[in-house]
């Protein structure tokens, strides 16, 4: 008799041909993948109703390992492919899985405009502060002053906050977690997939091989401990002063609001055009 965790792996993973996966020992991508499985399992959606789209990068490997309808697309274009799938068949649950470079650098425009359009999609962004797969170049979320292969003497640019960017761009649901808080990730993904409108879940992850090693942050265990120490919940962050929040990561649901969803508005427009009787 398999345990619930074993049953989950047998049901959702392409375990007979793709494992062990390519990610480095201790990589947070595996933890996010487990959380995604638990969230989908709890929502009781069948495998045929879920579409996963991903771009290029370490995070882009994730749909390869999962037995849903999967799309491994070009760099930064996970959301564009997801938009197409959603418009073609609005009944599907479409999840775009992106890395930080994928979502905010190469696909930066797609990301903000997907949030502005407010399509009924879920975007999971794994933020490890670096381009890990290509050899550790700095990404838009690399913190100021940190060392990477392309900023050997310290990074001179300032980092994006992906979650705050999504809030400003107009997403319906924005949440943030870290890989240490794995049970929070699956609760947030569950809420995001139930949400009508564009839902963003940013997960702060560890790249100890490319980022942690060059910045003397230690291995996977030390980086996870740092996430634990730095994390502050949204409710607690409200009570703290900006000085106390310096260097902290706010986790939890940042924004949850009801906005018109473009897939539904599109249906209404079609109806209005049809009823007007204009010959176009």
């Amino acid at each position: 008799m398999p345990t619930p965790a074993q049953a989950l792996r047998h049901e959702y993973l392409r375990h007979n041909k793709k494992f062990p996966h390519v990610w480095c020992p201790g990589c947070g991508n595996g933890i996010v993948m487990g959380a995604l499985l638990r969230a989908i399992h709890r929502l009781e959606i069948t495998k045929d109703e879920v579409v996963l789209a991903s771009g290029i990068g370490c995070s882009g490997r994730m749909p390869t390992y999962l037995d849903f309808n999967t799309l491994h697309t070009t760099h930064g274009r996970a959301l564009t492919f997801a938009t197409g799938v959603k418009l073609a068949n609005p009944a599907l649950n479409v999840v775009a899985i992106m890395g930080d470079g994928d979502a905010t650098a190469i696909g930066g425009n797609h990301f903000i405009h997907a949030a502005r359009r407010n399509l009924n999609l879920t975007a999971i962004i794994i933020n490890n502060s670096i381009y890990g797969m290509t050899g550790g170049q700095y990404s838009p979320t690399t913190p100021f002053g940190s060392k990477t292969t392309t900023s050997v003497y310290g990074h001179i640019e300032h980092a994006f906050s992906i979650a705050e960017l999504a809030v400003t761009a107009g997403a319906s649901f924005v949440a943030r977690s870290t890989v240490y808080h794995a049970d929070l990730i699956d609760r947030l993904i569950e809420q995001a997939m139930q949400k009508r409108g564009f839902a963003v879940v940013e997960v702060i992850s560890n790249c100890h091989v490319q980022y942690g090693r060059r910045n003397h942050l230690g291995g996977a265990v030390e980086m996870l401990k740092r996430f634990k120490d730095q994390a502050v919940t949204v409710s607690r962050a409200k009570k703290l002063s900006p000085e106390e929040l310096e260097g902290k990561t706010t986790i939890g649901v940042l924004v949850d609001r009801e906005l018109p969803v473009s897939t539904e508005e599109y249906k209404k427009v079609r109806r209005r055009a049809h009823e007007s009787g204009d010959k176009v």
């Binding site: 345990t3 965790a5 074993q6 792996r9 993973l13 494992f19 062990p20 996966h21 990610w23 480095c24 020992p25 201790g26 990589c27 947070g28 991508n29 595996g30 933890i31 487990g34 959380a35 638990r38 890989v179 240490y180 808080h181 794995a182 049970d183 929070l184 291995g219 996977a220 265990v221 996870l224 401990k225 994390a231 919940t233 607690r236």
Partner: protein, 95 residues
């Protein structure tokens, strides 16, 4: 934070004991073919019962002390850990 209270609750549960009045036992098993010896399970185990063998791979040192919090199971990036309720042994050579 919810995490901390959750963990302390599960630790309290050992003293409370199950409905049968006995301490609940768990079995932790590792699928070493998928394990990459990252060390997350050993470092974060609240009972510190996971040790390393000569290749750095996890082994259970004192399985009776496991409280079944499943931190290792949900934080294993390689899906290599299974925590299950301990079943009574029926045969002498049951593992």
């Amino acid at each position: 934070m919810g995490k901390a209270t959750k963990q302390s609750e599960s630790v309290d549960n050992i003293n409370e004991k199950g409905a049968s009045g006995r301490k609940k036992f768990f079995d932790v098993s590792f699928y070493h073919d998928w394990c990459k010896a990252c060390g997350i399970c050993m470092a974060f185990c609240p009972q510190k019962i996971i040790g390393a063998d000569s290749r750095g791979r996890p082994v259970i040192e004192d399985g009776d002390r496991c409280v079944g919090c499943r931190f290792c199971e949900i934080h294993c990036p390689d899906f290599a850990i299974t925590v299950s309720d301990r079943k009574p042994k029926r045969r002498i050579n049951d593992v």
